[in-house]
Amino acid sequence: MKEILISTRKMTKHYPAGEGKFTALKDITLDFGKGEFTGIVGPSGSGKTTLLNIIGSLDTQSEGEVIVLGRDISSLTTKESAALRSRDIGFIFQTYNLLPVYSVYENVEFPLLLLKMPEADRKKAVTEALEWVGLTAKIKSRPGQLSGGESQRVAIARAMVKKPHIILADEPTANLDTENSMNVLQTMQNLNRDMGTTFIFSTHDAKVIGFLQRKITLVDGMVASDEINGAAG
């Protein structure tokens, strides 16, 4: 049995909506093991982003339990959850979310600055991360000068540079064409294989399905299916 990094138990998320509330996730009970390459699929509005945000401690559940790396995330202070994100969790977003005023190098360096890594180590780590995504030639560029595919690869480098346990990617290929999507997925898959990092990402992109080891389908905030995909890898 693989080591479990994330587990949710009967986790429910309500959003306030007008007078009442809207239930975005209902009774989610899932375990994510170390080194998984898992996709959460489902139509728009099915609760994928909400689930990733809660796992990533950017948000908290309304009911139930969420344990990430041994910690009950609903009990964390804002400072503790920030520390968890800065050390152990990397985010990748649909819209890349690079810091526009920073260069590629500075974007990738940023998480290491937060970790107060010494300059020399930082430099090595950033260079290495940019090698993983094949962007060493662009270190001085600004995000505005990059293509979508390049931007997403910088985002991957930024998420991976601190070698976190978990990468959460919210529709990472939704804004990319097929070629770039394949490239980004390939990059993530290689990192998952070589470094053992757990990847959980949401998608409603059919191209992605073939890459998945495990596919969790959400419908209306509930788990509709949870399948292991033998063909992956």
Partner: protein
């Protein structure tokens, strides 16, 4: 780390940062420049007052009131012996005051007649011209007085005065010289003549109304009839006026600072709104709210620090020019009779002035940068990432 990031943000913001820095720098230059002006003006006025009439203070007859001509008939007395010693040593100058009237070309002008030893050395008044005797009485007037009374050098005019017994007398005086003095209290409405002559005219030998002292540390004990007036006391009117001027000046700075701060506040508020997505990213990457707030505040402080440097560089030529060449008020202003303005005012800058300006601007800028970040504290990372305010 926070400072490094703040610095990156400033660099990244490019032109916007530059504009902010220049605005703050201009405000700082304005503040230091005008403070330098007030300080220089005050020093000039004080120096003139010391050099021309007030020395290091004076021993004045208790009954003397410079605004009340009736007091002048009672407010003189024999110069105390120990003060006469100072006069003989040349470290004190007695002045006798009386009221008089002149009749140039049939007009009648009331004036203050001041007697001062023709041989005195330490006041700048060109009293030597008063010594040259002859039949008529040599008198000295200032250029403003000459203008208002239409008197020219060499004019002879009848002066009427009362002696100490109350009897009226008249004699001709000759305008021996017209002096240009920046110290208007020695000019407007006054005529100077030799002390001994005036004492004779008043039939009050060896008397004075006040005695100007060269060194306040040197003031001897005197009888109750006399009182020592320090230079600060004598300059109180000027200080009061300067205070009003300064208050207006400060109001101006306040306005300037306000404008600069609105500019910064605006950028920072904009930043918090425009950069809320960025704030979400910072949060997602593991920055705490505190760190984000500190980073924004640090940005503001860095603006002010760079602005200080820029103000130093941009303002230096201006400061040096006004600190050496100075500034001369247009002639028309001189007629207002504002002390110290008829000479070029050499601006004077003090370290305290510069340091306090820098500190005030840095603190205010930091504060103004910090206020908008309070909204960040209420922002949930997920909302920020969506680009929404919580």
């Amino acid at each position: 780390m926070i400072w490094k990031l703040a610095w990156r943000n400033i660099q990244g913001a490019g032109l916007r940062s530059l504009i902010n820095i220049i605005i703050i720098a201009l405000v700082m230059i304005g503040i230091i420049w005008s403070q330098g002006m007030y300080e220089g003006w005050m020093r000039t006025a004080e120096r003139e007052s010391r050099e021309w009439l007030n020395g290091d203070g004076r021993i004045t007859h208790k009954l003397y009131d410079r605004f009340d001509p009736f007091s002048w008939d009672k407010s003189f007395e024999q110069i105390p012996e120990n003060i006469q010693d100072l006069v003989d040593k040349g470290t004190a100058v007695p002045v006798l005051i009386t009221s008089g009237t002149i009749y140039p070309e049939g007009r009648m002008i009331s004036l203050i007649v001041k007697g001062i030893p023709a041989g005195q050395q330490f006041l700048k008044l060109p009293t030597a011209v008063l010594a040259d005797g002859g039949d008529d009485i040599p008198a000295l007037i200032g250029s403003n007085m000459a203008k208002s009374s239409h008197l020219k050098e060499g004019d002879i005019v009848t002066l009427r005065w009362r002696d100490m017994h109350g009897a009226f007398n008249a004699a001709d005086i000759r305008i021996a010289a017209i002096m240009k003095t920046p110290y208007l209290e020695a000019d407007n409405g006054q005529v100077w003549m030799d002390l001994e002559r005036l004492q004779l005219m008043k039939d009050a030998p060896k008397t004075a109304t006040f005695i100007v002292i060269k060194d306040a540390g040197d003031v001897p004990q005197t009888s109750d009839a006399w009182t020592f007036e320090s230079i600060d006391f004598l300059l109180r009117d000027m200080h009061a006026m300067m205070k009003t001027e300064k208050t207006y000046g400060y109001l101006m700075f306040a306005l300037l600072i306000l404008l600069a701060m609105i500019a910064i506040f605006d950028t920072q508020v904009l930043a918090v709104f425009k950069r809320r997505k960025e704030i979400g990213i910072f949060a997602a990457l593991g920055m705490t709210q505190k760190q984000i707030i500190r980073m924004f505040t640090a940005e503001g402080m860095l603006y002010a620090v760079f602005a200080s440097v820029a103000a130093g560089i941009l303002g230096m030529p201006l400061f040096i020019y006004f600190g050496t060449v100075g500034y001369r008020m247009p002639e028309s202003y001189q007629d207002f009779g504002i002390e110290g303005l008829s000479e070029a005012v050499i601006f004077y800058y003090t370290p305290a002035m510069i340091i306090s300006t820098v500190i005030i601007v840095v603190v205010i800028t930091a504060f103004v940068s910090w206020i908008p970040t309070l909204r960040i504290a209420r922002l949930k990372p997920t909302d920020a990432l969506r680009g929404r305010m919580g």
